[in-house]
Amino acid sequence: MFRRPLIVIRRIPNIDFMGLRRFGFALSALMTIGSIVLFAVNGLNYGIDFSGGIVIEARTPQPANLGAMRTELDGLGVGQVQLQGFGSPNDVMIRVQRQTGGDAAQEQAVTKVKQALGPGVTYLSTNVVGPTIGAELIRAGTIATILALIAIAIYVWFRFEWQFGIGAMLSTLHDTVTTIGLFSLLRVEFNLTTLAAILTIAGYSINDTVVIYDRVRETMRRYKTMDFTTLINKSLNETLSRTILTVSTTALAVLSLFFFGGQVLHGFSIAMLWGIVVGTYSSLFIAAPMLYYIRPKGVHGRGGEAAPAPAASPAGAPESPRAKTGAP
């Protein structure tokens, strides 16, 4: 039983990723522009974390009569009130729009709503976000995302060369923008945990890219005269089984969060699932082919003839694969 695994990937595939690069770029350009347009036109379905307002989850003693409740709450003068059943028939989610008149007005509206519902009701949760906090959270979230992109680019630049840094940042940016586009398209609530997911996607999608870049760099050193297109294809194919396996384990974890993690983690797991898929796609079809256009040092011309390199260093050379290239 332990002689070998149940499933063994033996063959190294031979997929022409570079041949598909125009298709990949076109698709990505389409998705990115589409996302930006969607975001500009459609906006995001901000949860109260960002938009401010009130969400109360209440449990009534008898099955809730939404109609009667709506009439009652509409008469309070707290603006637009949305009621929605969820879970059991006794549970109601009450959304009240953000109150005009600053932070203090939100709390007064909560008190009004709770008084109107009467004493028999238990409260599963109450969330009130004033306009001050909402604006701050949007700002902090935007800053965090931009900083994450820059920090990752700088790290990759330090560990590799600037060309790799640019490729990594663009592909991560692509992943982030299309995730936002997806949320704009599906109208799924965009809240703080979604934002956490986007930052995690930035960290995760770069993971694949780094692994592939690592291999590209190693192959570049080993086969100094190899044609760059072949070189990238070879690196991608060699790391493909790892890419697929890692994506699968992470996807398994996220899928179980999606199915069993409850409604609070719904947006989070949707964002993560998309991020895992698009992050992998962008590593294969954007980050790596992009190196073809912004060539790192050590790659000369398409055929690489200009590189008067000595014979490829044999496998197991003492030189660490992580060391920076010594090229001036």
């Binding site: 695994p5 499933i7 449990r59 238990t122 004033g130 920090a151 790290y155 992470t250 179980s256 409850g262």
Partner: protein
């Protein structure tokens, strides 16, 4: 590479063992854990309010009103000073963030300048070309006042919450002028919010005998007086009062306040300290037969007649109270007045049912996720997959132990972070194993393939983990509450997975090599 020194083996085993031991209390209920013998660790990871149920309130101290009050006091002081020195002026008043006054005789500027600094040396004085003098507090003074005001507010908030008997409340400063209040187990914080929403400044002021409320309502308020509304309209009683601005005694001189009954009506009895008692005694002695107003937050609670001098420093406040409102007022008076109004700018309350649901769902999702990963690794890597699974188990334990020992707070997104890192943790194993496979394909010997696999994969593993740590650090820095919880578990998980995937897996493989002396690698 494939040889472990004994002390290293001991260290790895010790870390794993400690991980298991410190995780154990989290698996059992707190009652079970409490009955364990003394030498076992009993500390459990603390659950966030979204899991245990409770209320999170973010309060903002209204510094603008403090500065406004300061400026209007300053204007009063300026007026007194200028009048005392017989210096003519016009246009005295508050404008934006400063007070201003125009001197009739601009040659008096020097004298006025010195006089103002005598009022308060922390004032910035500037004179404009048209002879207007502007006065405002220095930035330092404003910052000092802000710090003191927030410190005092925190103290008062703490006292008020303690008085309500709420257990385990957390009250701390957040940023410059915010106070974070966490109330575990409180699922309807309306009462607490009502208590924190009152400044509770209590004053005793004489009611003006020679002015009518009607005149005052039309703007004819005698100098030195002010018009205050009644706290609630009651039949037969006026809805407004004209009272002296001068405060006879104020609430900060109270030593005690208790709810009690007088003629079957709830009232609040109070006791002054010695200074307060003397002042109250003197004031009541010279004003027998007149009315004095009991004022709370600029509203008149009641205005009784002084029948006789009150010399003992004790009295009762009457005013259409219910048992609850008498209790609340007594509590507020005992705890003291807030130096500035507080506004709730964010509230997050989770009831115990929802918290329990979240724990159940989060745990189920994590267990299913981890189980799937474990099976997956076995299917694709066989024996080595099992090694990775064992490492994953220790990874989970060390992570839980670290959370417990660091006293980090576990939130629902935090649980998601655990499930996610378990999926990501085996990435290091995948990288190593794939590398080993490649080396085997390249025709290397068994030992050298293993060695190269671990060595070569290490750099890649490090690079790919650092980027996730960067994202985690940013989330921790800029995120709030639940997101912070996610950042903590994500970052911790990445760190512990480095240990388990590299060291634990390697130790398992080395031990297997020694014991079974295999000829081929089973992957």
């Amino acid at each position: 590479m494939l040889y472990f020194q004994t002390w290293k083996v001991a260290l790895i085993l010790a870390v794993c063992a400690l991980g298991v031991v410190f995780t154990l209390p989290n698996v059992f209920s707190s009652q079970t854990v409490a009955s364990w013998p003394g030498f076992l660790p009993k500390h459990q990871v603390s659950l966030g309010l979204d899991l245990r149920g409770g209320s999170y309130l973010l309060l903002e101290v209204d510094m603008a009103s403090v500065e406004r009050d300061r400026l209007s006091n300053l204007v009063d002081e300026l007026r007194t000073t200028l009048v005392a020195r017989r210096i003519g002026y016009t246009h005295l008043g508050v404008s934006g963030d400063h007070a201003e006054v125009k001197l009739l005789d601009s040659s008096k500027y020097g004298e006025v300048h010195d006089a103002i600094l005598k009022i308060d040396p922390n004032l910035q004085i500037a004179s404009q070309s048209d002879g207007t003098i502007t006065v405002k507090p220095t930035t330092d003074a404003v910052q000092n006042r802000e710090r003191q005001t927030v410190d005092q507010s925190i103290e008062i908030v703490r006292r008020r919450i303690d008085e309500t008997g709420t257990r385990e409340a957390t009250i701390q400063r957040e940023g410059d002028r915010r106070i974070l209040v966490e109330l575990p187990g409180i699922s309807n914080p309306e009462h607490v919010k009502a208590l924190l929403g009152k400044t509770a400044r209590l004053t005793f002021q004489m009611v003006e005998a020679n002015a009518s409320v009607e005149d005052a309502l039309h703007g004819h308020i005698p100098p030195g007086d002010e018009l205050l509304p009644a706290s609630e309209s009651r039949p037969g009683l006026p809805s407004n009062y004209v009272v002296h601005r001068r405060i006879l005694v104020s609430g900060d001189m109270l030593t005690d306040a208790q709810p009690t009954f007088q003629e079957n009506e709830p009232v609040v009895s109070f006791k002054f300290d010695s200074v307060g008692a003397r002042r109250f005694g003197e004031a009541t002695k010279v004003n027998v037969g007149k009315l004095f107003a009991i004022v709370l937050d600029n509203k008149v609670i009641s205005a009784p007649v002084i029948r006789e001098p009150i010399l003992g420093g004790q009295g009762v406040i009457e005013g259409n109270f219910t048992v609850q409102s008498a209790n609340d007022l007594a509590l507020l008076l005992r705890a003291g007045a807030l130096p500035a109004p507080l506004t709730v700018i964010e509230e997050r309350t989770v009831g115990p049912e929802l918290g329990a649901d979240s724990i159940r769902e989060g745990t189920t999702a994590s267990i299913v996720g981890i189980a799937l990963v474990v099976v997956f690794m076995f299917v694709f890597y066989g024996l080595f997959g099992l090694f990775a699974d064992v490492a994953l188990f220790f990874n989970l334990c060390i992570m839980m132990a670290a959370l417990t020992l660091l006293d980090a707070t576990l939130t629902l997104p935090g649980i998601a972070g655990i499930a996610l890192t378990m999926g990501m943790a085996v990435d290091a194993n995948v990288l190593i194993y794939e590398r080993i496979r490649e080396e085997v394909r390249a025709g290397r010997s068994l030992i050298s393939s293993l060695q190269a696999g671990f060595e070569r994969a290490f750099g890649t593993i490090l690079d790919s983990h650092v980027t996730t740590l960067v994202a985690g650090a940013l989330m921790f820095w800029l995120g709030s509450g639940p997101v912070k919880g996610f950042a903590v578990t994500l970052s911790l998980g990445v760190l512990t997975s480095l240990f388990s995937a590299i060291l634990v897996t390697r130790l398992l493989i080395v031990t297997w090599l020694r014991r079974f002396k295999p000829k081929v690698i089973p992957i």
